[in-house]
């Protein structure tokens, strides 16, 4: 891992400012050629049903450890100058942020791939669970086979 790489990982109830996180990763640096950001946002409907809110439960301790482990793996696999991962917990209403990944690199493909890798792993391996509030009750979101497939492509040799 390079001395100049800045890794930030936060799990928090409060909202975050995507713009500020991107700026903090790249401001005043001339070695970064590419910054990719991914923001995951709470949608107001799923398959036509209205979603009132999401509640995100997590496993404190393990969530931090899992994210740090994947952040380290991303730093080893791609030449990154910096990396920020923020995941919210608690109640989140439609239009609000859920998750943010920002990657900075000299090269655009490294920045894109590291961001996709981290999102695929957050979806399938980080111990977070979403519960949806729908009309007439709530239900736990089911894991999607599609996300597992997306994550598996990073382990194919």
């Amino acid at each position: 891992m390079k001395m100049t790489a800045i890794v930030t990982i936060r799990i928090q109830e409060e909202d975050f400012d995507t713009a500020r996180e991107i700026a903090q990763l790249s401001k005043g640096r001339t070695d970064i050629g590419a910054v990719v950001s991914f923001s995951g946002i709470c949608r107001g409907s799923e398959h036509g049903d209205v979603i009132g809110a999401l509640t995100l439960e997590h496993y404190p301790g393990m969530a931090e450890a899992e994210i740090a482990r994947h952040a380290n793996e991303a730093m080893v696999r791609w030449p990154l100058n910096g990396l920020t991962i923020i995941h919210r917990t608690g109640r989140i209403t439609p239009g609000e942020n859920i998750v943010l990944v920002v990657t900075a690199s000299s090269h655009r493909q490294a920045a894109f791939q590291a961001a996709e890798f981290l999102m695929d792993y957050l979806k399938t391996s980080a111990p977070f669970w979403k519960r949806e509030e729908r009309e007439g009750g709530g239900n736990w979101v089911e894991a999607r086979a599609h996300d597992d497939e997306a994550a598996r492509r990073w382990t194919k040799s």
């Binding site: 496993y59 301790g61 393990m62 999102m119 977070f128």
Partner: protein, 83 residues
């Protein structure tokens, strides 16, 4: 050892954590689920489809055949849906 439950596994078990001392013939994560299922209907409901339930020992994902000897904390939860 400390056992933790999350999401719908927690709701079905009816608690988020507890201290347990399983008998010595309960050697693996899978055997722990089976033993708990025999304890009460709540556990039986939580683990009714054992291959859907995920487990972690001391914050690391493990398979059902992983030994539980030496574990400080074992957690059971549904497939993750973060991100």
């Amino acid at each position: 050892m400390k056992i933790k439950y999350f999401a719908w596994v927690r709701e079905r078990v009816g608690k988020s954590e507890e201290m347990l001392d399983p008998p010595p013939d309960v050697r693996t994560v899978g055997e722990l689920m089976a033993w708990l299922s025999r304890c009460s209907e709540s556990y039986a409901h939580a683990f009714e489809t054992p291959k859907v339930v995920r487990a972690a020992i001391d914050h690391v994902h493990v398979k059902p055949d992983t030994p539980i000897a030496g574990a400080r904390e074992i957690a059971f939860f549904p497939p993750m849906t973060g991100g």
